[in-house]
């Protein structure tokens, strides 16, 4: 099955890149904070000290890029988990209880949708200083709305499905209906949606970092590296190209992974 191959290829790539990000800084003799003003904007070389070159302050870009990937992935995964937990719980309750509870809960979501969220996140960043933790919360707070809508819609249709009615008729308890009949059938769409939320979160984080609102120096992320690279673009294009390419690859892989997983779950659900 072609969907399965997509999942394998992109999954392997993402795993490899994560491992490299975790192990890479160990192997390299450099670290990500030490500046060396004698060696600024050194070009990348496989045989030399700096595999990805150095930045405007002479810091090793390989280690900084690996470090940036760590931060970016961490933000993305944690933000997605935040949206997963809030979104699934909220959506499932609204969908399963239904009626007035559902109407009130979903109108609240509609209202939150109406807020200009990027603006809201920027405000948060400005008011509470730049706080690493806050980025997770802010991004998660954007993404759970979509998740809640999707899960609610799915739960609403599952609740009316005949196998749920059959369970009711035989006397299966509500708790068992929720955990054994409805939840497992939500898993597919939730997993797919989470893999599609991760690239969104990465994009938002990169965007914030690019604006200078993300992680703080000497910490870095892919977005912050791209931002720094843009400033050196004319003298040292590698400083932009390397993190930008990696960012694009990671985003693409997550998107393909999500699509591949969707095909996989679709094939299992429909005969």
């Amino acid at each position: 099955m072609s969907g399965n191959r997509t999942v394998k290829v992109t999954g392997t790539f993402l795993l490899a890149i994560t491992v490299a990000a975790l192990v890479g800084p160990w192997i390299s003799p450099n670290d990500y904070v030490t500046t060396n003003l004698d060696q600024i904007l050194v070009s990348p070389s496989v045989s030399g000290m700096h595999w990805f070159g150095t930045d405007g302050l002479g810091r090793d870009l390989f280690v900084r890029t690996m470090h940036g990937i760590r931060v970016t992935m961490l933000v993305a995964v944690v933000a997605s988990l935040v949206s997963l937990v809030i979104g699934v719980a909220y959506g499932a309750i609204a969908g399963f209880v239904g009626g007035r509870v559902d109407a009130v809960m979903m109108r609240l979501v509609d209202t939150l949708y109406a807020l200009p969220f990027i603006f809201f996140v920027i405000l948060l960043m400005v008011v509470f200083e730049r706080n690493f933790f806050l980025i997770f919360v802010a991004i998660g707070a954007i993404n759970w709305l979509d998740m809640a809508r999707i899960v609610r819609g799915q739960t609403l249709s599952l609740r009316e499905r005949e196998f749920v009615e059959a369970a009711r008729l035989t006397g299966v308890s509500t708790a068992r209906i929720v955990f054994r009949h409805i939840a497992p059938n939500l898993m597919g769409i939730v997993i797919v949606y989470v893999t599609l939320t991760i690239p969104q979160a990465i994009l938002v984080e990169s965007f914030l970092s690019f604006l200078g609102l993300g992680v703080q120096e000497p910490q870095t992320s892919l977005g912050a590296l791209v931002d720094a690279g843009v400033n050196q673009m004319e003298r040292a294009s590698f400083a932009l190209l390397i993190p930008a390419t990696l960012l694009a690859l990671i985003l693409m892989c997550f998107n393909f992974l999500g699509d591949g997983l969707r095909d996989y779950f679709d094939a299992r659900q429909s005969p």
Binding site: F163, R168, L169, T170, G171, R180, P184, R268, P271
Partner: protein, 574 residues
Amino acid sequence: MSLLDVTGLKIRYGEDTVVDGVDLYIERGESVGLVGESGSGKSQSALAILGLLPKHARVEGSIEFDGQQLLGAGEEKLNTIRARRIGMVFQDPMQALNPYLRVGTQLKQIILSHGLAEKAEATTRAIEMLAKVGLPDPERQFRAYPHQLSGGMRQRAMIASALIAEPDLLIADEPTTALDVTVQAQILDLLEDIRDNTALLLITHDLGIVAGYCEHMIVLERGRVVDAGPTTSLFAAPGHAHTRTLIAAAPRVDRGDVPAPVSASTILSVGDVAIDYDELHAVSDVNFSVRKGETVAVVGESGSGKSSLVRAVLGLVPMARGRVVYSGDTLEGPVQSRSLEMRRDLQLVFQDPVGALNPQMRVQTIVEEPLLVHEPALSASERRGRAAAMLDKVGLEEKFLRRYPHELSGGQAQRVAIARALILDPKILICDEAVAALDGTVRAQVLNLLRDVQAETGLSIIFISHDLAVVRSISHRVLVMYMGRLVEVADNENLFAAPAHPYTQALIRSVPVPDPVVAPGRAPLLGEVPSLFSPPAGCVFHPRCPKADATCADTAPTLRDLGGSRVACHHPNN
């Protein structure tokens, strides 16, 4: 030379061969029925003729239409043939008609794109065609959008668009499967009357339709032609075992063994039940009872309220009025509030076997689940044993316990659903169109299974169906519903031998009999079931009733005892 000459047609998808060497010929003006069960390749063959198969299908062989090779022909050439020389009618007209265009516009497009008439004349031609297919007020239908038409009217509009270019061949793929039986009879009559010299390739699973309307028939099994010839001679002397099996499995409404009547105590009685969905009165004042070991069939067309009625008995929809008494206890409230014992005794089998099974659970978990609730003391191995024994009873081997629903065929899935319903040893089993989605041979097996279980355990069955031929073969007693009301209640033998209500008569006469010797009559009823939002005054059936008079138009009849049957009609047939 034949009009259509298909030889050695093979269709493959990757490793799967769905059509494996089909030959078929159609002469001008001839009607040919292509029959087979699901997966036999009948629709695939038709799509291949039209060049409508998906791109990844690999097609071999030869398809000659009027001397031209269609296989491998370019889109441009096919477009001069499709609609112009070969018309098509599909099962679901809603998918074949463009929802954004008025019916008339779609007809005009065909006329104009094939240069059959000038713009001014095209409108007149289209309106004439709509009148010809029996649409009332054709000028208005010309301006209507497809969703504004009823199912039967939509299929008429579809036929109009298929025939407007006066093609040489009409391909109809299950054209009446989605329609009620009285409307089906009208559409089949229309196809017969209107096609003049147009040849017809009719694809259907229903042998009754082939027997009544096709001169020749071709039987497909797993992508191969197993039998072909004149319909009368094939029915009289089937050449292949599969044809014999199909004919034997097709139930007949005109004859049948009447199940021995049961005379035991009443187990369920339903009194004056009414169900409203807001303003819509889905079911009004229905009374009936079920005896122990008896099969009571509830028949009626769509909107008759038969599903609502049993769902109310089960507590899945609320009743507006009325009382349901089961073994002396009143059943009330939604199913969640009923006691476990009561829930145990009434079980339901759904129409769609796949939708009724949780796709994420193995068959073992599905069948065992009721035991977890009702017999929590059982050990895991005892439960497994009971589940395996139950599967054995419904004719499935133990290995099926490990399967997921998507690994089952329709018939296997329905057996699993029946196993789940029967594992608690219920007293009443409600089957809501439980065999409607199954192929003929599988349907016959499931019906036998139900009969066997009933003989063994004295189970009572409420059998909801729109298919009177099936009802005749399984039920002891029949309730006929129309627009939420009971119109006739009678024993099987009485009902089919001497139907008293005009609607019952019409229903029975509308069912095609799988026997070419029995000539199909004309469709006994005109029009379609009116909207439940504005039911006719008086007797709800009077606008369609051949016997209606002034009394019928203003007084609603009540159920009267006529000795042997209860009938709600002012002019019953003795």
